[in-house]
């Protein structure tokens, strides 16, 4: 059991996290249940849709009465899924973009023109920056982005209950 999951056993099931959750009303995420399943060591938790339903607003963690870092628990579960190649397509695409350009949002033709008209210099991450970033991510164990899971990752479409 990870440190966060061990802490999850302090949960009193008060559901303040659920009341604070941004995602819940939209996609049915129930952080209280995720904490409960983590505390119980549910082995299927990371591979289900729940971890990817979180929008990382950290509202749950900022209000937890038991001091559980609920948001970090979601990151931990996502990291675990990603190590097995279970990465939603949109996350894979952004991560590839970051490794290729050094940026999550690269300049478009439109915004390049806008910069010019505003009198701003062209914007791009330097080749040295991109190279160092790739080396660091490789060394730190960023999962292989070309390894795909056997079944597509269900990232919790709206209205879908867990």
């Amino acid at each position: 059991m990870s440190g966060l999951a061990a802490k999850a056993s302090n949960c009193m099931q008060c559901n303040v996290c659920g009341a604070a959750c941004t995602a819940g009303p939209v996609n049915g995420l129930r952080p209280r249940e995720v904490v409960q399943r983590a505390a119980a060591g549910d082995p299927g938790l990371a591979d289900g849709p729940e971890p990817w339903k979180c929008v990382t607003c950290y509202a749950c963690a900022s209000q937890c009465r038991a001091g559980i870092d609920v948001a970090e628990l979601f990151y931990e579960l996502r990291n675990e899924a990603a190590r097995r190649g279970r990465i939603p397509d949109a996350y894979r695409a952004v991560a590839k973009q970051v490794l290729a350009s050094g940026c999550a949002f690269p300049v478009t033709r439109n915004t390049a023109r806008m910069r010019q008209e505003l009198g701003l210099p062209p914007f791009a991450v330097s080749p040295r920056g991109v190279e160092e970033l790739n080396s660091l991510c490789r060394a730190a164990g960023l999962p292989d982005l070309d390894r795909h899971p056997e079944a597509p990752v269900d990232a919790g479409a709206p209205g879908k209950e867990a």
Partner: protein, 286 residues
Amino acid sequence: MRYGLFYGCAVPSRLPFIEKATAFVLGKLGIEAAPIVDATCCMDPIVLKSLSVDAWLASSARNIALAQEQGFDAVLTLCNGCFCSLNETAGMLEEDKTLLAKVDGALRGIGRSYRGGMTVKHLTQVLEGIDPSDLAKRLVRPLAGAKVAAFHGCHLVRPAKYAKVDDPVRPTILDRLVDRLGGVPVEYSERNECCGMGFTGTAPESAAERMGPILRAMESAGASFVVTPCPSCFLQIEGAQRTAGLAFPLPVLHVAEMYARAFGMDGKEMGLGYHRVRFAEEGVTV
């Protein structure tokens, strides 16, 4: 204090007018700041951190290490996401020296190093720190009673353990910044909600829907425009207007733009014409 200016990626590559307004405001205030050379994006706190906390931490730390190496005293950000990534990284490395040694080791592998001790600020904090008499001297176009909806977003104030900018549940720093320029911050029911940017990857339709009730609450409160400290919230607020069912479009300004206007920057020079929801000179009391 000399700041290493961290523009991130959404500002320079989607909303570059915010970059221009920021340079103007810092110049007017005589704040010394220059871009950090060879920086990458902050390392997206939603996507990269979700795939590998270790890779996110090391590459976020690299940006802070560059600022240290280039002789800056602190890092200055214009984006909640950048602030969240960089400030959390700096905070984590400050409280855990074993982690610092590990990250420094990874950085040495690419010829960099981080010895700790750097701080990360969001522009809102710098603006709040302006001496009232300095502000009065520069205030050439006060908000003159304009009603403004302050939308803080999430990552300016959370994770609470590291952010420490304001109350993590009910922040008011932006309201205070509106008030100082002579505007009236409006109270509205959805003020502490998330903009929904985190849905864009897995449920884009939810991301658009998310802002609807927030925009309608701002409109009901009589706001003439919205101010936000974050380019992601900015994109969300502009993007959701077509489906929100508002009687009139609700323009949005980044906090740097609100201050640039108040300090006399011309709307055309600022690039207000590039906003998707036009910030009209007429009909908005600014």
